[in-house]
Symmetry: C2
Subunit: 591 residues, 2 copies
């Protein structure tokens, strides 16, 4: 290529300073408020890792790449963006299921992959972490299925803009993106100009024109509604208008439900906020009220079978106004190329409150406060209401796929709590590293905002013994980082979630027997600490002892394990229904 | 489609019995000598799992899918074929890095994926384990990059032949294959005919015509050679002619070396068998002899950078006859469409021994038998020779990527030992589940062949503390299956393999601190057993105590852990060279 010393690029270069690419990248990341970076070192990414700490970021260092991806997913759901770094081939493929989950449930993770140097790639060298056939493009091709955008940096001139672009894509699409950096690019000098232009915003989501008629239509529908309801689903998180949604829920007083995915995105202490909407309550007054509503304001629809209770909890399209991250749907008619966020903001600004219906409907039923006999064995039906008393404002609660996800739907969360449960990807084992990610994000945010009282919140993870085995080692990262996490292992002797679906007594639904009391010790606590922070509970009395213990007090930082033993077939809600169907089939077969 | 009652298919059906597809599949698997099936249950594969035990197979039940794939890879390297079963999306993507490794290093694994029912797929239902966009083909597209053949069973008529075909592809290509089975296919009736035709052989690898001239050429080259050598590489395993290779090595007496990948495929007790060939011995007589050879019989070339010591151990093409699974290369000229296995058999049959050169060359140097002072600290240089005395005929030895892989190259294996180390994929964490797989394969084979003395062999796994964290939980499956495995954890305080490459003192090469003495307890042993089967060794005296202990005796079944503490930068061979280069660079920088 002929170099023209008068080209604008050259002139621009002449006027500006340069910076190593690795420094540019992590400064960009730092500008976006990210403080913790997840991942595992590998020879193709080591040169890049040199730039993390000098950029003011903390390298978390996970036990393996799948766990790192899961943790980054969790971080993104709290902070809005996250970074995970792996090495070429082996590292990125170990992480790919975690990135796929972030794609499915919309967590914007920037996945950075350190790849072999440009000279190795262009000479098709038969290096490790390849199939020794000279082909270096396979893994990127695989990643194109699970990321919203892909970039391979091979050119110092364009690298800064490419980095900015791919990060912006994560923000725009609210899904993971994929960034390959050859080993020899980490130290090349690139223009530092963009760093001075402020943090990456991407094309702002708020600049698209909105049509005042759309706003007027929606307001009219709101004014004319006699029995309006609000349904909050999980993609509300991706719209970027949680504050506006909150204002509407407070100001209208309209009865509000959430999906499992939407739980934790609204203030459940409000008198008009019910919990998770379950269409098959049968004769329940809530379901009747919801089904006969003449307007449903539906925020962030996410219509997977699990999140909609096998499609039964989807509101009637003809009375629904649905706000998605990039479209609004009114009574089945889709409005594209507009800004749902701005429309929502306009509605909040313009709505004339006195013209809205004063609704009366089923009152929010307080969560029962069970007081079981101390010597009685634990059971799923009472366990979640019982545990609910531990939650305080600002805590984070996670329920892993399985009996915990079903049981935790009844939680009544204090204000400011966040809640996470799997609704579509349902990769068991996800929730433990995710707990690491959300807790770090919350701590990063707290230490960023205020110096005092840096450890006020706790994370509660409810996880079955089968799921726990998938990713248990990531506890050691929680311990290393001295995070406030209470891990409640529901020991029900195997994959109860699978038993209720099929093979109730099949041996393939058994798992290896673990002695969970040794987990804290193996994963890094001293023997003394480990003994004081592990509690086995078979009865309500034992559970109470655990909850009243010193390590469970708010001020006591660190990881605590409560092993709650429950019946192999003990479950609630949908799961119980499935189990009974199976038993009934067996009875018929045996007749 | 119009049904023709006179079609041959219909007539065939009329004459034969049927069998549920799941039963057909696992009977086919059983016919191939496989006894253990790896995997994790998930709702889309449960109906299929019902057929495993009735088919005479043992369901292993792994902790997670990546571990299951790694274990299946190990099983295939011993048995020649293996099966891993996962569920759609989440399960298969967790496993994909393991399957990629099997592809890279040629282990024929049949990966069976339970997928959503045909009706869900054809209606593009928004079910869990998808991206709720109705697209069900993504994961198969991803798997096409890492498997030799892919089949999706959607039709009962063709299913048996498709199953046979895809299994044959694994055997032909010696790489993993991918088999999708929709949930509702597991119980459909399919023709049982093929089951009566004997086990699947695929198109036999021995039927291709061989050209007598090729055999004559090779024999001539052998007769005229004055300084011939033999080099055994890892893809010898895939040729299917290990016996013929062994005969040649014994009969010729020619000096023989292996690559790291080929180690364990030849009998190292033979007087003419040296160990791993290292071209950069410098003035060593072996390297000189090898480099001046006028003929190299090269079995199973696998030319990755790591396996060839950065391409230095590749023999001169112009004097080399190389046997690969599907081609022979003579002095750079490739012969395709022939049977390397049969050519080799012909050579063994026809070779006229008296016409071969009686070689003299460097004698095989016995491994030193170190006797270090009991109070001295352990060191890498003496550790592997010291441990070598534990190996007995028929044991399996595995060295994980890192200092163990480098150190273990010096092992001198007793006859009948198998040896595994990573040479191309190098995914750390692989080796622990692989140890599970190879041990099960050996036990299955032993119990198949002879009733008496069923537990004569042991597996020795050498693994660093960083790699151990990746997949540690799979120890619990070893314990569940009561396997004879000695896990030697080399605790050198983090990723020494990365430190020697880059970032010698960088914090990103640190790992979380674990207390390994709790591993056996967490993963299933009683406290008493765990205490008796764990040994910490900082000194040679402590190591000796561990090796002399009762659990380390041959007859004592079960998992034992020896934690060997070594210096953070203690390493040998290539790694030491890399480390010294780095130190030298630092010295220059600091001047």
């Amino acid at each position: 290529m002929i170099k023209d010393s008068n080209s604008s690029a050259t002139m621009r270069h002449a006027q500006q300073s340069t910076i190593p690419l690795g420094a540019y990248l992590f400064n960009r990341v730092q500008q976006l408020g990210i403080r913790s970076v997840f991942g595992v070192p590998g020879d193709y990414n080591l040169a890049l890792l040199d730039f993390i700490e000098p950029s003011g970021l903390d390298w978390v260092g996970n036990c393996n790449e799948l766990n790192a991806a899961y943790a980054a997913d969790g971080y993104a759901r709290i902070h809005g963006l996250s970074v995970v770094i792996t090495t070429f081939g082996v590292g990125e493929l170990s992480a790919i299921n975690g990135i796929a989950g972030a794609y499915a449930e919309r967590a914007p993770v920037i996945h950075i992959v350190g790849t072999p140097s440009r000279s190795l790639q262009s000479s098709r060298a038969l290096v490790h972490h390849t199939f020794i056939d000279g082909e270096y493009k396979r893994f990127a091709a695989m990643y194109a299925h699970v990321t919203a955008a892909q970039v391979n940096l091979t050119d110092a001139e364009t690298a800064p803009d490419q980095i900015d672009w791919v990060i912006a894509q994560a923000m725009i699409h609210q899904r993971p993106v994929y960034l390959q950096i050859p080993e020899d690019m980490a130290n090349v000098a690139v223009a530092a100009t963009n760093l001075g232009l402020g943090p990456i915003t991407g094309p702002s989501l708020g600049t698209l024109p909105i049509n005042p008629e759309h706003v007027a239509t929606i307001l009219d529908r709101m004014y004319s509604a006699k029995q309006p309801v609000i349904l909050v689903d999980g993609e509300s998180r991706n719209i970027g208008a949680l504050a506006e949604m909150d204002q509407l829920i407070r100001a209208t007083g309209w009865l509000t439900w959430t999906s499992a995915f939407g739980k934790g995105l609204v203030d459940e202490e409000l008198p008009n906020v019910h919990g998770v909407y379950l269409a098959d309550y049968g004769d329940d007054s809530c379901a009747t009220y919801f089904k006969t509503a003449d307007l449903v304001l539906f925020f962030g629809p996410h219509l997977s079978n699990i999140n909609t209770h096998i499609f039964t909890a989807i509101p009637d399209e003809t009375v629904t106004i649905a706000f998605s991250p990039n479209q609004v749907q009114i009574d089945g008619h889709v409005l594209r190329d507009t800004s749902p966020r701005r429309i929502l903001a306009e509605i909040v600004k313009l709505v004339d409150m006195p013209r809205l219906a004063q609704v009366t409907g089923p009152r929010v039923v307080p969560l029962p406060d069970p007081n079981p006999v101390a010597s009685d064995m634990l059971c799923q039906a009472l366990f979640y209401p019982f545990m609910n008393r531990m939650f305080r404002r600002g805590d984070i609660i996670l329920t892993e796929t399985g009996t915990a996800a079903e049981g935790g739907k009844v939680f009544k969360l204090p204000s400011g709590c966040r809640f996470f449960t799997a609704v579509t990807w349902l990769s068991i084992g996800y929730m433990l590293p995710a707990a690491l990610g959300v807790t770090l994000a919350q701590r990063d945010s707290a230490s960023h905002q205020q110096g005092h009282n840096r450890e006020p919140h706790r994370t509660f993870l409810f996880i079955g013994d089968g799921s726990f085995q998938m990713t248990a080692q990531e506890m050691s990262t929680m311990i290393k980082k001295n995070l406030n996490v209470v891990i409640i292992i529901i020991n029900n002797n195997g994959y109860t979630i699978e038993r209720v679906i099929h093979g109730r007594n099949a041996s393939y639904n058994n798992i290896s027997q673990w002695n969970h009391r040794h987990a804290l010790g193996l994963f890094g606590l001293s023997d003394d600490d480990a003994a004081h922070r592990y509690f086995a509970a078979r009865t309500w009395g034992e559970l109470r002892t655990a909850l009243d213990s010193q390590p469970m007090q708010r001020e006591n930082a660190g990881v605590t394990v409560i092993e709650a033993f429950m019946g192999q077939e003990d479950c609630t809600g949908e799961l119980k229904k499935l189990l009974l169907e199976q038993v009934s089939k067996e009875d018929k077969t045996s007749l």
